[in-house]
């Protein structure tokens, strides 16, 4: 498919080029490049090359042609030819009346199997559920995703504000991914490669016109189809059990109208109404959604603007009664959730003085969920033994409810101040208050404060310092007692000394702490039990969960004498995740007595990326450039070396402009 599209682009470009060639006073530019690519990978590619599909060494190339003349202009470019991730674009404009564009791009997404684990007795221990023996075909698990878009715009010659537009988009995914399923014959799960093969196609037609000088209207209709062609995998160990079901085919039809209206120089109004209908062609269910919005900005002067917005969305799912009970022989389910959202906000922006600007806003959002359903956790029937040997009696009602209605209020305030020495500071505060979060993970109270300071230094150097702090809590689900804190420090430096030298650096340090209560059981509870396994559960309070992310990056570009240019960039990312707990394992088979889980989700990842390139353009032959580059990515998983890997790419090539 990709080759066809690329050939089409080339043919289209050639045809347009031939037409334009007759145009008087047109000018061409063209270029091509060729390079030798050498790849080297060590260890696991799944993390270090998650999105890198350069699978083949040897020659890659690019070609581009552009033309502009009295009739129009066109550009065609094809990049990374020979790399399996070719991408191309074609643009053709005919005066102000016609515009055609086409583009295609390909990416590979690796989704290799990664082990998980936790700290037992201080030692990282992988989860035991999967072994390599369960892999039917060990190897790389990646799929290739190609997205291509074709767009045609036609404008009325006498009034370019009147247009008709057609767009076609296709997304094609093919390859392999890991599929997992419980194995009926053992306590282990099956991990096997499953093929990925699905296509999404999308057509949009639009038309628009202006309404005198003050307004404009645009209508569009869209049709989308998703189909999955993957086949079911089976595994002999599981007695022909289905490992990965095929995704259900889907179809969507929708449309909408957008408008803008400027009744005066100080007032602008915009709005839209859209609707769509999604069909799941497997189960026959249908989801209809409608959205409406109207916005207005009043700007009486260049110092003041006030904006009001109203947004409403509602969706409803129509179920096929009997699909669950009759077709797949499951117990009857309740109706699917229907939801509506109404949101109103007002925002003001006022330049109080030459170097002082203040902004403020208020937003209220009301959500209603019909048929949200409750889901019932098993009710406690016995007492519980805590890790400290205490007997705890948790609340008898253990039903978690999705909030049927929630109302959120959000208040924001920002001040931007110009200080001496051209220093600029911006401080803002945001407060969220809700009667409840929809789910336990959603806060009903959140406070965020942040500060940014920009400092200009001599020699065109600019330093930016940022910090922000967030504190949120979920009180509605009181037993759960969800709290979270985030703290971030960032710094950035930009130096554009002149056209020849530019340099930039960024650093960021972020901590996220989460705390909640939880109840963890092991087998049926029995009164009087003292041993964890099979007889008790724990009510753990204030389970802590933390993440720390440190990122540092730099980039530079230096033009040297004699036609040389040196470019470089690099980054270092260090992420740690911890959830320290004290979880006895002494009665679990396979672990020694007095074993305990000390960390539930340990993670320590260090990613180093760096690249450098040198270009040479001979002063006498400025249309030629030679380039050599090298890039290395190193991913280190401190807990599980199986996830670590390194990938490097070296390239040497030349490019020419004609």
């Amino acid at each position: 498919m990709t080759r066809l599209i690329l050939l089409g682009l080339l043919a289209g470009g050639t045809a347009v080029s031939a037409l334009a060639a007759d145009a008087p006073a047109s000018s061409y530019e063209a270029g091509a490049s060729l390079r030798y690519v050498d790849l080297d990978t060590r260890g696991s590619r799944g993390q270090v090359s998650e999105y890198d599909g350069k699978l083949y060494k040897f020659m890659h190339g690019d070609i581009w042609v552009s033309n502009q003349g009295e009739k129009g202009l066109f550009d065609i470019s094809l990049f990374d030819i020979g790399s399996t991730e070719e991408n191309g674009t074609l643009h053709a404009d005919y005066k102000d009346t016609l515009r055609f564009s086409a583009k295609t791009d390909t990416i590979h997404h690796r989704r290799d199997f990664t082990r998980t684990g936790f700290l037992i007795n201080g030692i990282w221990t992988p989860a035991t559920h999967f072994t390599t023996m369960d892999f039917a075909q060990p190897g790389e698990f990646l799929f290739r995703r190609t997205e291509s878009t074709f767009n045609l715009d036609i404008f009325a010659a006498q009034n370019p504000a009147q247009f008709f537009s057609a767009e076609y988009r296709i997304v094609d995914k093919r390859g392999q991914a890991i599929a997992r399923a419980p194995n009926a014959l053992s306590s282990r799960s099956i991990a096997a490669p499953a093929n990925v093969d699905n296509i999404t196609q999308d057509v949009t037609l639009a038309a628009g016109t202006n309404i005198k000088q003050a307004g404009a209207l645009a209508l569009d209709i869209e049709h989308l189809e998703f189909k999955d062609y993957s086949y079911n995998m089976t595994n002999a160990n599981a007695s022909n059990r289905i490992v990965k079901p095929v995704y259900s085919a889907q179809r969507m039809t929708g449309g909408g109208v957008k408008f803008r209206y400027d009744p005066s120089k100080t007032l602008a109004v915009t709005g839209a109404v859209t609707g769509n209908s999604w069909d799941n062609l497997k189960n026959g269910y249908n989801k209809k959604a409608v959205v409406g919005t109207v916005n207005a900005t009043y700007r009486p002067s260049s110092r003041l603007s006030v904006t009001g917005k109203l947004y409403a969305r509602a969706y409803q799912i129509d179920e096929v009664q009997g699909y669950v009970t009759q077709i797949i022989n499951h117990a009857a389910q309740g109706n699917q959730m229907d939801k509506s959202t109404v949101r109103a906000e007002i925002f003001a922006n006022y330049k109080a003085a030459e170097k002082v600007r203040v902004k403020g806003g208020y937003r209220v959002e009301v959500n209603n969920r019909r048929d949200a359903g409750n889901f019932n956790e098993p009710t406690a029937t016995a007492f519980y033994l805590t890790p400290n040997g205490e007997i705890a009696v948790p609340p008898s009602a253990m039903t978690l409810v999705t909030a049927h209605n929630d109302v959120k209020h959000v208040l924001t305030a920002t001040a931007e101040v110009g200080l001496p020495l051209d220093i600029e500071a911006e401080a803002s505060y945001r407060r969220l208050q809700a009667n409840t979060g929809a789910y336990a993970i959603n806060p009903d109270r959140q406070d965020t404060a942040d500060l940014t300071v920009t400092v200009p230094l001599p020699k065109d150097v600019q330093v930016t310092l940022m910090t922000d702090y967030t504190d949120q809590a979920s009180h509605h689900f009181g037993l759960y007692n969800n709290r979270e804190w985030r703290n971030t420090y960032r710094a950035g430096l930009d130096w554009a000394m002149n056209r020849r030298v530019s340099f930039g650096a960024d650093a960021s340090y972020e901590t996220i702490r989460h705390r909640n209560n939880g109840l963890f059981g092991d087998g049926a509870a029995a009164a009087g039990g003292t041993s964890p396994a099979g007889s008790a559960a724990w009510w753990l309070e204030e389970i802590s969960h933390s993440q720390k992310n440190t990122v540092a990056a730099a980039r530079g570009r230096f033009e040297l004498p004699k036609g040389f240019t040196v470019l470089g960039n690099g980054s270092y990312t260090w992420m740690t995740v911890h959830a320290p707990i004290q979880w006895p394992l002494n009665a679990v088979a396979g672990y020694p007595a007095s074993s305990h889980v000390g960390d539930w989700t340990p993670r320590d990842i260090r990613i180093a990326r760096g690249g450098a390139a040198i270009e040479f353009t001979p002063p006498k032959y400025k249309s030629l450039t030679a380039r050599a580059s090298y890039r290395i990515d190193d991913w280190v998983d401190k807990f599980d070396a199986n996830n670590s890997g390194r990938a490097s790419v070296g390239e040497v090539g030349v490019s020419a402009k004609f």
Partner: protein, 319 residues
């Protein structure tokens, strides 16, 4: 501040000399006043006369470097074929005859008759661009969008004189993503984390999901977050026979968009994120192994509950 042409009275300019003349010779004063009036009228008339278009070649006579860069931009390349750009530089800056005639003399009233966008407010800068682009479908919601209402003008991201590509972006040779990340530094740091969309790899851009010119739902390219995610991840949207309600409610209940240190862009890693709602996974059930055995075996809930976004086959989201 630009001088206000036609509002400077010539009589005011020569007042000190007039006082001396009044004392010496009233007739001379009257003659001079008359002459000054004629001269002042001539100056005012010249300033108030409509400036005429002189053509891009005249502009290039003084602004050669800008003209050379402009010729390579999308506007420059389109100038030959577009009626909107027939006037070249003067399509945006206004007729330049008086400015050209001033010959670089900033004291000449005609010098400032050219529209210098750098001296305008953000909304005025954008208004200059909207003269031609106001009816573009991607700009329909611009005036009420978050960039415009926060005084971010077109020129913050686009450079007409030296911009690159068809979008004339200002970030030099750094691509459209770098244009956004110059201001949105938090998102830039998030994209360096372990799990991220392929934006740093150049396979997606900020504009893959966002319309910086304004949209129906914030700056998103769809009318809700779920519809936006569904454009690429259609298989996750449903509607499913067995629904996972936080998924149907919103993708951002479990995922962050720009980057996460947890797999699959999750807010928290498994099983912690699942246990924020599911307090007692696999407990209190004599028939099946309990939580500890489960977690010691797998840790990831989705190792068994694979179809976590919803299923048409099995109510516990197992295949």
């Amino acid at each position: 501040m630009r001088p206000s042409l036609g509002k400077t009275s010539p009589v005011t300019l020569i007042t000190p000399y007039m006082e001396e003349l009044k004392m010496r010779n009233p007739r001379t004063l009257i003659s001079l006043l008359a002459a000054a009036g004629v001269l002042g009228a001539a100056v005012s008339l010249r300033a108030a006369e409509t400036a005429a278009f002189v053509g891009a070649e005249t502009c290039a006579g003084c602004h050669a470097e800008v003209a050379e860069k402009f010729a390579k931009t999308f506007h420059g390349r389109k100038a030959k074929s577009s009626d909107k750009l027939k006037a070249g530089c003067e399509s945006c800056h206004g007729p330049g005859s008086l400015h050209a005639a001033a010959g670089g003399d900033k004291n000449n009233p005609g010098f400032a008759t050219i529209k210098n966008l750098k001296n305008l407010s953000a909304s005025e800068q954008s208004a200059a661009c909207l003269t031609c682009h106001k009816d573009a479908k991607q700009l329909m919601m611009w005036k009420t969008g978050s960039h415009a209402t926060n005084d971010v003008s077109c020129l913050k991201c686009h450079s007409v004189h030296a911009g690159e590509g068809r979008k004339s972006l200002a970030a030099r040779s750094q691509g459209e993503t770098e244009t956004c990340l110059k201001c949105h530094r938090k998102q830039k740091a998030d994209m360096n984390l372990a799990s991220h969309h392929p934006v740093p790899e150049g396979k997606m851009f900020c504009t893959s999901c966002h319309n910086p010119h304004g949209g129906i739902e914030g700056n998103l390219k769809a009318d809700s977050l779920e519809e936006l995610c569904g454009k690429c991840h259609s298989e996750k949207l449903g509607p499913f026979a067995f629904e996972h309600s936080p998924v149907a409610d919103g993708c951002n209940n479990c995922h962050v968009v720009h980057g996460s240190s947890n797999d699959r862009l999750l807010v928290m890693p498994q099983p912690a994120i699942c246990t924020t709602c599911h307090w007692k996974p696999h407990s209190q059930n004599a028939a099946a192994p309990g939580t500890i055995a489960r977690i010691s075996g797998k840790v990831r809930c989705t190792d068994c509950h694979m179809d976590i976004h919803g299923s048409d086959y099995q109510k516990h989201f197992k295949p």
